[in-house]
């Protein structure tokens, strides 16, 4: 339609522009007032990226600050299946199984997923990462992740435990101190560019709090010495299992704790649950003759008997109720000292009968049996000890010689430490300090006495008797050249499934401490079902000797001048 009048034409054009302008203004007002929040949100999502910042898991160190567990950055490989071209798919199916050690079917399945992000492998080695980078494929990418690694492979495996794929503690100290080690995550609102790529610019950031570091009482060198000797006896006697604990008897600090079988902490996927079990605190067993230290201590403390009092050992056979008790060798008259040195079951039973069930029970509890020690490791059991009201007629013959009672290795080493340190029951502990990444101490742990068990005089007398066991008795193979040692051997019959005592399966044990005058270490050695020999004096005592000898040399060589003088003064005052 043609408008002839110039003015009218101008007005028409103006009207069109006015309508357009009004529409634009209306649209602007609508966007500004009614869609603002939605669009602001959309822009935020496009431009910003909320990222949770992972804290660094705290490391675990031995007592000399040598790292036992730490984090290293490794690559994890992912693929974006939807962005994959067919040529790239072929290359990946061909090359990835060889690089990652997975099956072709696994790779095919992962690539067929209808997702924009799929993991192919987590925390791979440097060689694997380099091989994947050499493929130069855009759809495949590498992300840095933190991997928990253990530089000493199997050393202290049952103490350290391990953290899983997502750095969460699953066993041992990694589990027990999970809260301290894991730290607290942070977050940040990073900016993104037009290609949705994250930039190192942030609007807001809450820094993560890195996990604390844990410092152990364990000494790496002592742990190695203990594990080396334990390994030898485990293999030499084809044992079912073995445990060793080395403890400072004065403080309760654990210097070494090891079990066999064991596993490599870096290769734990191939280990079964049996190897992961911390036998030293989870396994219950009848201790046998090593338990006689409780009966002997109780008898001396209660002044029931003295070392030189004579006891008739019935020439090797003694009837108690319906049961015949035997000694491993027939004895006639023995002094109380000789009863313990020669490990006479009959002599010990007669002393226990003099003590009475209630008094014996009192000392069993005082020595800590039947209760958890409270060590800072998961999975500890309390053992099994029944009150006198539940004893049978033969319990008075069985319990004093270490039958009808269930103990753990840790309870035994704590019990012998009572004698070594002059009569105090100490709480064992394995962590001495928790500190931050700058080395500032957050929490310290130290020696804690639970209660007094026996007097100093009784402890010294028992020490002499146990030194006699090593010098003259069943523990001669525990003698340490150049040092004095004291201890007790044990050869305990294991229970068959039908409830009777086995005549072919034994637990060989030795508990002791050295040097006698000023004990540096208390050690327990337990060997489960050794073959062909099974006596504690033959199997376990030499392990004690080898371990104690090297540890004392090691500790003495690291003593400062002040420590040497202090030891000398302690010996002189005695």
């Amino acid at each position: 339609m043609y408008i002839s009048n110039y003015r009218q034409r101008s007005k028409a054009v103006f009207l069109v522009f006015l309508i357009f302008l009004s529409f634009s203004i209306a649209r602007l007002l609508y966007i500004q007032f009614f869609r603002a929040s939605y669009l602001r949100e959309l822009a935020k999502r496009q431009h910003n990226l909320f990222v949770e910042l992972e804290p660094r898991r705290g490391s675990i160190y031995d007592t000399l600050i040598k790292p036992q567990a730490l984090n290293i950055s490794v690559d994890s490989v992912y693929v974006a299946p939807q962005e994959l071209k067919s040529k790239e798919r072929v290359v990946l199916i061909e090359r990835l199984p060889g690089i990652l050690g997975v099956s072709e079917a696994f790779v095919r399945e992962r690539l067929s997923r209808k997702k924009s992000f799929v993991w192919l492998a987590r925390k791979i080695s440097v060689e694997q990462s380099d091989a994947i980078q050499s493929l130069h494929l855009k759809a495949i990418g590498l992300l840095k992740e933190s991997k928990r690694s253990y530089p000493n492979s199997y050393l202290g495996s049952h103490v350290l435990g391990f953290a899983g794929l997502d750095n969460v503690g699953l066993e041992g100290l990694e589990l027990y101190y999970e809260r301290a080690l894991k730290g607290e995550p942070g977050w940040a609102m990073f900016l993104r560019d037009a290609r949705q790529k994250r930039l190192d610019l942030w609007e807001n950031m809450f820094l993560p709090k890195d996990g604390y570091e844990v410092v152990l009482t364990i000494d790496e060198v002592i742990q190695y010495i203990a594990e080396r000797e334990l390994d030898k006896v485990y293999k030499a006697y084809r044992a079912k299992g073995a445990s060793i604990i080395v403890m400072n008897p004065h403080t309760g600090a654990i210097l070494a704790l090891a079990n066999r079988p064991t596993y490599d902490l870096n290769e734990r996927s191939s280990a079964d649950r049996d190897k992961m079990r911390n036998r030293a605190i989870c396994d219950l067993f009848e201790p046998g003759s090593v338990f006689k230290i409780v009966t002997a201590s109780a008898a001396l403390e209660e002044k029931t008997i003295t070392e030189e009092d004579k006891i008739f050992c019935e020439n090797g056979a003694f009837r108690v109720a319906s049961h015949i008790l035997h000694d491993h060798r027939p004895h006639g008259w023995l002094t109380f000292r000789e009863v313990i040195e020669q490990s006479s079951n009959i002599g010990t039973t007669k002393v226990a009968q003099m003590l009475g069930p209630d008094t014996l029970w009192k000392y069993i509890r005082l020595f800590g049996f039947g209760d958890k020690t409270g060590i800072d490791l998961p999975g500890e059991i309390s053992g099994m000890a029944k009150e006198p009201s539940r004893w049978s007629k033969i319990s008075i013959a069985a319990i004093p010689i270490g039958q009808e009672i269930g103990v753990t290795s840790l309870q035994l080493v704590r019990a012998v430490s009572v004698i070594a340190n002059g009569g105090q029951l100490m709480k064992p502990y394995i962590v001495k300090e928790i500190r931050d990444k700058y080395g500032q101490s957050i929490k310290k742990f130290s020696a804690e006495m639970v209660h007094k068990v026996i007097s100093l005089d009784t402890a010294n007398r028992i020490k002499k008797i146990l030194a006699g066991v090593v010098e003259e008795g069943t523990g001669k193979r525990a003698r340490i050249p150049g040092f004095t040692a004291a201890g007790k051997t044990g050869t305990a019959q294991k229970l068959e499934p039908n409830g009777t005592y086995s005549h072919s399966k034994y637990i060989a044990s030795f508990i002791g401490f050295a040097p006698v005058e000023d004990p540096l270490v208390a050690i327990v050695v337990i060997v489960d079902d050794p073959r062909p020999y099974y006596f504690g004096g033959v199997v376990a005592a030499p392990v004690f000797k080898n371990v104690a000898q090297e540890i004392i040399r090691y500790l003495r060589s690291h003593e400062t001048e002040e420590q040497v003088l202090a030891s000398y003064e302690t010996l002189r005052s005695r």
Partner: protein
């Protein structure tokens, strides 16, 4: 007069707008540079940690112990003591001279030489 003022104001606004855009672009460009260098620095740090870990692992008592047990030529007896002898230089010299003389005498007066341990130079 109104037009030049208008043009001046528009130019000024445009200039500052462009400056703002340039600033934003520079910030993003520097962010890319920083990110690249940060990535390189993180990679170096990670490699450093990995290297230290590998050194620690190779120098671990477990690995050294396994290596030593594999070495058939090197064996330590189960029981041993380390003993250090120290001799005065004069004594050593006199003994060496004495041993030479003895050998010479032995050579002269006897037909065969007795086997004799030689002093190791401490």
């Amino acid at each position: 007069m109104k037009l030049p003022k208008f043009v001046f104001v528009i130019s000024l606004i445009t200039f500052f707008s462009i400056l703002y855009v340039y600033q934003q672009v520079e910030v993003f460009r520097l962010a890319y540079v920083v990110q690249k260098r940060q990535f390189a620095s993180d990679d170096l740090l990670d490699r450093n940690i990995l290297l230290r870990y590998n050194i620690r692992k190779k120098a671990s008592l477990v690995r050294l112990g396994d290596k030593m047990t594999q070495m058939a030529e090197f064996q330590m007896p189960d029981n041993f003591r380390l003993v250090r002898f120290s001799l005065a230089p004069d004594t050593l010299h006199a003994r060496r001279a004495g041993s030479f003389r003895k050998t010479f005498l032995t050579r002269v007066f006897t037909s065969s030489q007795q086997p004799e341990a030689k002093f190791i130079n401490p």
